[in-house]
């Protein structure tokens, strides 16, 4: 425990986005020389809180925030990232703010270059001053030495291992002379284990020099190894603040995930899932930006609802997109004993695989087109349904389309003014139903649904989940549901696969404990399980 003065105090911070409360009275205080870990699932409010701290434009363009915060006991009002910098707040970004073609020095001194006069600058002013590389290199060296990393300051960023880039980011922050508080936003997410270790020891070194650190992460063992105190957020509230010595990994995992779960699917005991595998995925890699899949092995049983969960950016979204051929992918997918040709949406659709995209308004719907056309278009393209053939040319069969859409609207209970209504005007829940209706029109054997309840109000969420359950139970359709909301996965799935760092971390039953889900999402399930026997004994 360190007993420095409070560097940062946030009091009763509230924030609304369009009437949706995302922060509900957060209190947080960080002392000098302390490493304060901030834990929470995606959407718990961590990023919003940090955006407020940095005065990001997104906060102020959406009506600002309520509550107050103090830096070293002074009430401050930070309106822009520049104000934050002036107050001595630095941030090590999750995605690197580095210029690849520049040297380490140039990046550390980005827009804070040391300048010197030359002949022209005396006439034409500041902007034509030359860069003083010698002094810049000296400063960069000093900053790099402070964190104890041995990179040559004139090397270019491009081609460096990711771990080094992280250190350059940190060096840039500490090169700013007045820095008091540093925020590390998931700094170890992209690092290898040994790089992460170096980083953590660098953080400790910085904290010892009196800088306060806010450490945002999902990796619980890292929290236990460096943090002095820990704040856990869930749904925009502080669930708990703990000192490291008073807690353990299991408790943290439970606090992070824990919420009451209502299981919609009753375990009727009669479920017969022994028909064998409908699909086997072997070493699937998908090149989806931000959701990269790095070698997934998964077996999908016929007739089950399989959930795919995990934190954002770990690759869960990429799996369905890869199988559907929407992003470049590699590996082997065996569907009903046959090898599926990858990178071809047409092939996947032809094989009876349907997909409801997570990007409903982008990929999922033709927003300015009618409901009936949205429902029928894929089947029209792939199965040549709803088309009349006149020898040389074809025409749409409007009556068939109408009939089918009306049936779907009735079956799925799509609330609309009629099949000709434009989908843009529908509510989120009803748009989602249109997407599902289109997938069903393909009469699929296996249905991939990604984030089916994203951006839908609570009442409609239940309807969508009920619908998926009904399809599974009544039509025997195999459903793979990808979702960021663990709660809904646990509500209807038979099994839940948790994805971490592009791979399947493990498969759990919906009844398994919160702690187990928490650990698995943090990506340290297997590691901790192995260690537990030794340490807790």
């Amino acid at each position: 425990m360190k007993n420095g003065a409070n560097i940062l105090q946030m009091k009763n911070i509230e924030k609304e986005y369009f009437g949706n409360k995302v922060l509900k009275g957060i209190n947080l205080s960080v002392r000098a020389g302390e490493i304060h870990a901030l834990l929470g699932e995606n959407g718990a409010g961590k990023s919003t809180l940090m955006n407020i701290l940095f005065g990001m434009p997104v906060i102020h363009s959406t009506g600002g925030y309520k509550g107050e915060f103090l830096i070293e006991g002074r009430k401050v009002d930070i309106k822009s990232p520049k104000d934050a910098m002036n107050e001595g707040i630095g941030m090590v970004h999750q995605e690197f703010m580095l210029v690849p073609g520049f040297t380490v020095t140039e990046n550390i001194k980005l827009n804070r270059e040391i300048l010197k006069h030359n002949l022209l600058s005396r006439v034409f002013g500041e902007n034509l001053k030359s860069l003083d590389y010698e002094n810049m290199n000296k400063d960069a060296r000093k900053a790099l030495n402070t964190i104890g990393i041995n990179i040559e300051e004139w090397a270019t960023i491009a081609g460096m291992p990711v771990g080094y880039m992280q250190f350059v980011e940190i060096a840039r922050e500490i090169d700013k002379s007045n820095v008091k508080l540093l925020v590390f936003d998931e700094p170890t997410a992209v690092l290898t284990e040994s790089e992460a270790k170096t980083l953590l020891s660098a953080m400790k070194k910085l904290a010892d020099s009196g800088i306060a650190i806010i450490f945002i992460t999902h990796r619980l063992d890292e929290v236990m190894s460096v943090a002095d105190s820990i704040t856990i957020l869930r749904d925009g509230e502080v669930v708990a603040t703990r000192d490291k010595k008073d807690t353990n990994v299991m408790e943290l995992a439970e606090l992070m995930v824990g919420r009451k779960i209502e299981r919609i699917a009753k375990s009727d005991g009669k479920r017969n899932l022994s028909k064998g595998n409908i699909m086997t995925i072997k070493n699937l890699k998908v090149q989806m930006p931000g959701e990269e899949v790095k070698g997934v092995n998964l077996e999908i049983k016929e007739g089950e609802i399989l959930g795919i969960g995990g934190l954002a950016g770990q690759g869960k979204i990429g799996i369905a997109n890869g199988i559907m051929g929407l992003y470049n992918s590699d590996g082997e997918v065996i569907f009903r004993g046959k090898k599926l040709k990858l990178n071809s949406p047409e092939e996947s659709l032809n094989n009876g695989i349907a997909f409801v995209s997570e990007d409903r308004r982008g990929v999922g719907l033709l927003l300015d087109t009618s409901i009936e056309e949205n429902i029928t278009i894929t089947a029209m393209q792939i199965k040549k349904k709803f088309i009349k053939n006149y020898f040389l040319f074809t025409q749409l069969s409007k009556s068939e389309m109408r009939q089918h859409s009306l049936k779907m609207i009735k079956e799925l209970d799509i609330r609309c003014r009629g099949p000709q209504q434009v989908t843009r005007r529908l509510s989120g829940g009803n748009q989602q139903k249109v997407c599902i209706a289109r997938a069903l029109t393909m009469e699929p054997e296996i249905l991939f649904v990604s984030e089916p309840t994203r951006g839908i109000d609570i009442g409609a969420k239940k309807l969508v989940l009920d619908l998926l359950l009904k399809l599974n139970r009544e039509k025997g359709m195999t459903i793979i549901m990808t979702s960021s909301e663990l709660g809904e996965l646990r509500a209807i799935c038979d099994r839940i696969a948790i994805v971490s760092e592009g791979r399947i971390e493990g498969i759990l039953k919906p009844e398994d404990s919160d702690a187990e889900f928490g650990l698995m999402m943090a990506g340290h399930y297997s590691k901790l399980r192995n260690r537990e026997g030794l340490e807790d004994a």
Binding site: P81, M97, L98, V99, F102, L110, L115, A158, K285, P289
Partner: protein
């Protein structure tokens, strides 16, 4: 980020594949340039012309065009791609020339006055171009090209209809017989023709001697500089020193053996101006402004987050480019000697960009040496292709056709190759994971 890793990968490949890999990488990286070197060698061979003739022509064309091509570099540095908008700068230059010809100010005085008039015009035009390009981020090239066409409309309006109506002008040599509109061609001889070129013409051998000596000194200096801070990539400077010594020997040989080369003269002052602009391009990179250009060019988002005013920097880059293009057009026209009022500027952007691309530049990277190599190759092809066409196919028209075809073709091909290269790199990266 993704670019880094692919670069990294390529570097690794170069190391692990040994000599074959390195050769393959060099071929892959320079395929456009290599293709045109081959074409030029063929062209020279089939044209049946002496090297002295081609060299003489080439020197004239380098002096005429280099400045325009070099004006393209700064926007590329700032990540705005190839600035087709230099056409607008060229218009500013031509407006100045028409004014100065009307006032009958001749020689170098007239030329300097042209610069004085065209500069504020070009700054204004560049400012508006930059503002527009800031609204069309990501489509700068097509936006600047269309803007060029639009500006051409205004330019024609000015000289076809406003002259003699809104702008009073009584000058039978310039104005059409009806009293409205400027004539289609304006003769600059007796005006600013050869205003700069004619100041001092130097024998080729002497010019080569001076250039090679300067190159040797620069490269040795750079070598020692990089050695001092222990960088390892400094062999290229030693290589350049070697090449410059060869050039030195060549120049001495030209002096000793009296060949037809001795009749070739170099417009010394024009070349000096071109060297100055090259130095300017290098100098600006090392200033705060240049660093901002590069930052914005590499990653607008990062630049913005670090507090750089991205829009302002981009406008500045375009203004500089437009002003240089205006001056470049002045140099171009003082050499040509006739101003085609409604046509001289039209092809400027296209030809300058084609030359730059042939030199191995891309929409994201362009250097002085690429510009110079590009001009040499592009204009060699220009000189030899009609003759080669005549010798091979019996018609100079076909050769002429080929050189126009080549100019447009090269832009398409090298833009395509650029995209193709990126695709291959992305694929390699994915496979290696």
């Amino acid at each position: 980020m993704s670019e880094n890793t692919s670069l990294n990968l390529q570097r690794d490949k170069g190391n692990s594949l040994g000599l074959g890999g390195i050769v393959k990488k060099i071929l892959f990286d320079n395929m456009v340039t290599i293709l045109f070197v081959v074409l030029c060698i063929f062209g020279i061979y089939f044209s049946g012309q002496s090297l002295a003739f081609i060299t003489g022509e080439l020197i004239t064309r380098i002096a005429r065009n280099a400045f325009l091509v070099l004006s393209l570099i700064i926007p590329v540095l700032a990540g705005m791609g190839l600035n087709f908008g230099i056409v607008i700068g060229a218009m500013a230059g031509q407006i100045a020339i028409i004014a100065v010809t009307h006032w009958k100010i001749t020689g170098i005085a007239g030329f300097l006055l042209c610069i004085l008039i065209s500069t504020p015009l070009a700054i204004l035009f560049g400012y508006f171009t930059g503002r527009l390009l800031n609204k069309t981020k990501g489509q700068e090239m097509i936006a600047s090209m269309i803007l060029g066409f639009f500006a051409n409309g205004l330019y024609q309006l000015l000289f076809l209809f406003f002259i003699g109506t809104i702008i009073p002008m009584k000058n039978p040599t310039l104005v059409l017989s009806g009293g409205i509109g400027i004539k289609n061609t304006i003769d600059l001889s007796g005006g600013i023709k050869y205003a700069v070129d004619g100041l001092y013409r130097m024998p080729l051998s002497l010019a080569l001697l001076i250039i090679s000596l300067i190159l040797i000194v620069i490269n040795i200096y750079k070598y020692l500089e990089t050695k001092k801070i222990k960088r390892k990539d400094n062999e290229k400077y030693l290589f350049s020193v070697g090449a410059s010594i060869l050039l030195l020997i060549l120049s001495i040989a030209l002096m000793v053996f009296r060949t037809s080369f001795m009749f070739i003269k170099v417009p010394f002052v024009t070349i000096l101006v071109i060297v100055a602009i090259c130095i300017f391009n290098v100098f600006i990179v090392k200033t705060k402004l240049g660093q901002d250009f590069r930052t914005v060019g590499q990653d607008m988002h990062v630049a913005n987050v670090s507090g750089i005013n991205v829009d302002k920097i981009r406008v500045t880059a375009i203004i500089i480019s437009t002003v240089l293009a205006a001056w470049g057009q002045l140099i171009f026209l003082q050499n040509i000697g006739t101003l085609n009022t409604y046509g001289s500027h039209e092809q400027v952007g296209m030809f300058a960009i084609a030359a730059l691309l042939i030199g191995g530049a891309s929409v994201t990277k362009a250097t002085n040496s690429q510009a110079i190599i590009g001009i040499i190759l592009f204009h060699t092809l220009f000189i030899v292709s009609p003759l080669a066409g005549k010798n091979l196919l019996g018609s100079a028209q076909i050769g002429e056709y080929f050189r126009v075809f080549v100019a447009y073709g090269v832009i398409g091909v090298s833009l395509g190759l650029h995209a193709f290269k990126q695709q291959i790199e992305a694929k390699n990266k994915f496979k290696s994971q």
